[in-house]
């Protein structure tokens, strides 16, 4: 159901930024967790905090249920879980998901009829005399909609986003960065690309590539985000954003692109310390 805190249902619905209830709130948190058992089955961990005792009591008594709904527009995948637990985990098969996964958290009437009551109703609902009768499926509370971005690349390294792209008009020793929607292209002539792909095959070569190509490219991309000169729908942006979220970082006007890029790439200089800089 679309989230609109201004929408009137004719009775109080507990929502963030809505005044249907006074001194009461609902908040949710959703996290995607890896599992030990399988490379493609992950778990979604959810927490729902509800600040209205009558609603929590009615969930416990099964008059109300928590319904978590998932939908992925790219794969037409949808699933829903009906539960009485305000905290829990549920498995999700990542082979069903590509791109955005929308998650809705709603508290809904489970019994055939339900007498909604609370002393937290906004006085605007005084004609309800602190209660009203709802039917099965009616909405009682709605969390802020959540969205996860899921591409294989998000679970692989940032480096997997990079592709070599040939341009024979370029001279040996020269490369340029081309940020596409689906990939980050390093453009060079065929001869140069042969050297670069050979370098990928050795540990020393990978350390050099990481510091000479990948690191400056990531610094440049972060700088375009800081300058607000990028496309928010680009895969590379979503991957960087989600990777940074995992480390508790965000890109904002005060971000240091050099520091963030090093963190994203797990400090590339360390790769040189372990290879070319080792003192024999």
């Amino acid at each position: 159901m679309r989230f609109d805190p201004k929408k009137s249902f004719g009775y109080p619905v507990l929502r963030k930024d809505s005044s249907d209830y006074v001194n009461a709130d609902i908040s949710t948190s959703i996290e995607l967790l890896e599992t030990q058992d399988s490379s493609h089955v992950y778990e979604i961990e959810y927490h729902v905090m509800i600040g209205v005792r009558d609603i929590k009591d009615a969930i416990r008594s099964r008059d109300l249920s928590l319904v978590l709904s998932f939908f992925c527009p790219k794969t037409l995948y949808s699933a829903s879980f009906v539960t009485q637990d305000l905290t829990g985990r549920m498995p999700i098969d990542m082979r069903n998901i590509k791109g955005d996964l929308f998650i809705e958290v709603e508290v809904v009437v489970n019994s055939n009829t339900f007498n909604l009551r609370s002393d937290r109703f906004n006085p605007e609902f005084s004609e309800l005399s602190d209660s009203c009768v709802l039917k099965r499926g009616d909405l009682v509370a709605q969390g802020w909609p959540e969205k996860l971005f899921i591409e294989r690349e998000v679970f692989q390294s940032v480096i997997s986003l990079f592709q070599w792209a040939p341009d024979d008009e370029m001279s040996d020793g020269v490369w340029k960065l081309l940020a596409k929607n689906e990939s980050i292209q390093i453009v060079a002539n065929q001869n140069q690309i042969r050297h670069l792909t050979s370098a990928q095959l050795t540990k020393d070569g990978r350390a050099v590539l990481l510091n000479s190509i990948i690191l400056p490219a990531i610094i440049q991309l972060i700088s375009t985000v800081i300058a607000d000169e990028f496309d928010e729908s680009a895969l590379w942006f979503k991957v960087l954003e989600q990777k940074l979220q995992a480390t508790g970082d965000t890109i904002n006007a005060n971000s240091d692109p050099i520091a963030l890029a090093q963190k994203l790439l797990k400090f590339p200089l360390a790769a040189l310390n372990e290879t070319l800089f080792i003192e024999s």
Partner: protein, 269 residues
Amino acid sequence: MPIRFLKSETIAQLLSHVDDDKDLYIKGSFSSYGLDSPMSSFESLGAVNIQELATLLLPSADNFFEPENSEIVFGAFRDITRYQAADSRMWAYYSLMYGLPFVRKRYPAKFQISNSVEDLTEAVDMHFLKPNNSRNLIRNNILARLWWNARVVNDIDPRTAPEMLRALLINTDHRAQFMERPTQFSTNAFQAGLMYSLKKYKENNKHNYFDAPRSSKGAAQTATHYNYRATAAFLNRLGGTVNLNLLKPTEIMDLISKNEESFYARVAA
């Protein structure tokens, strides 16, 4: 045979060379074009049955064989994941390699030698290559469209899938009402709406339920009989206040029945 994906660069090059390749699109084949080379494409886990794909029925003016061909494409790509099926690069490869005869018959006006390069490029983009747009992929790519038709009816119940495919594809507007409103129909409403269509189809495969004239005032309001557009509008309204994922599809079908009854009660009054 592992499944194969065209590289993004290959798709970009194909789109920029439609003029040079015009004859291949209109009357030739891409079998010797080198699309199998590692420079142009890559393989991934999964399997495709090329022999089954080769049994696609060629459309004629009065029959596109869309239900039959949906089953064929779904059978040929039975083991791929939704993640893979949402990747336009895979469909681009198989559409070009195996879909040319089909698309020429399905959209004959778009693949004429007299067409401009711009028009042909647009058609190639739309029906073969369309990158990065999931809605257009599911709607317009010749093979992806067929696979997704079969995917959604198999999600509901593989036992009823063949007949539900025929109900879903009874006309393009009926399909669009259910498949091209992904957010609205991301709930059990999608399942219930199609099950209701199947019920009508089984009663009569020429049921007037599938005759839904459009009008600027809204077909549901002006139609003289209850039809799928009225169902779609009802589910849309209902989903604005009721969580349709809590209700079972059969419960939602009961509500659709009541809505139909009240429609005829209003008409009779």
